[in-house]
């Protein structure tokens, strides 16, 4: 399958909407990049993450459909509410969908899951008590 056939216009719209919803849910920046990586995909993803506007507040999801690699990088601030185990769960969900050939479903579900986990739980007790 050559480039350009992986996503339709509706697919792109669905992914963009999932990214927006995740950002609104937790307040962090989400970026999804579908690209071919060169060399060590983890290092490549971390280098891309470092080039984002605010890396500490950003989550990068890098998908290499050719090498079949998925990398999720979370910034230092994001890690306060979204730990690596939760990221691993989202990665597992995405991995399962990708293995079944469902890229759009995997990306949207994974990003949504990351956004929900990154949301800091609301504190209901009153301050100063």
């Amino acid at each position: 399958m050559p480039a350009g056939e992986l996503f339709t216009a509706a697919d792109r719209h669905a992914i963009a909407r999932a990214v927006r919803n995740a950002e609104r849910a937790c307040g962090y920046d989400f970026s999804v990049c579908v690209a071919t990586t060169e060399g060590d995909s983890r290092a490549y993803a971390e280098a891309m993450h470092a080039q984002l506007d605010e890396p500490a507040r950003s989550v990068l999801v890098l998908i290499d459909p050719v090498a079949r690699r998925l990398e999720i990088v979370t910034g230092a601030k994001v890690r306060r509410t979204l730990d690596d185990a939760e990221v691993g769960l989202a990665a597992l969900a995405m991995q399962t969908a990708f293995a079944a050939g469902d890229f759009v479903g995997g990306i949207t579900a994974g990003v949504q899951q990351l956004g929900e986990h990154a949301r800091r739980p609301t504190v209901h007790h009153a301050e100063g008590r």
Partner: protein, 130 residues
């Protein structure tokens, strides 16, 4: 054994024995075709086979095809995989971020210049392959 138990046992036995007896004793209902009805032409074996065998088989094949087709298409896409990718495709990439006012949650409250991460904090995350 109390009287209630005896009645209950008799009722149970009755529910089995009575219908069986009636079924065996009853005379079969006999009815002939009314004289006013037109006598249909006898159906050929080939036509009967086509109607009673061909049509159900055809319907079964169509239903099976409708059920199997989506998974066949999916498997084909999966087997083909992605062989090449030229341009990186970004969703929410650099410079594409929403203003913080439109957001809620942990990150929205964390945009002040003074709230920089602790020194030594490294990016985290996870990796996977399929």
């Amino acid at each position: 054994m109390t009287i209630d138990n005896a009645i209950r046992t008799a009722a149970r036995a009755g529910t089995v024995v009575i219908p069986l007896t009636l079924g065996c004793v009853a005379a079969p209902a006999l009815a002939d075709t009314p004289n006013t009805w037109t006598e249909p032409e006898p159906m050929s074996v080939l036509k009967a086979l086509l109607i009673f065998g061909g049509i159900p088989v055809l319907l079964a094949l169509i239903i099976a095809l409708l059920v199997i087709a989506p998974s066949l298409i999916r498997r084909d896409r999966q087997q083909r995989g992605v062989t090449s990718w030229t341009e990186p495709e970004w969703f929410g990439g650099p410079g594409d971020a929403e203003p913080a006012e439109a957001r809620s949650g942990a990150g929205a409250a964390d945009t002040s210049p003074g709230s920089s991460p602790d020194p030594g904090d490294q990016p985290g995350g996870a990796s996977a392959r399929w």
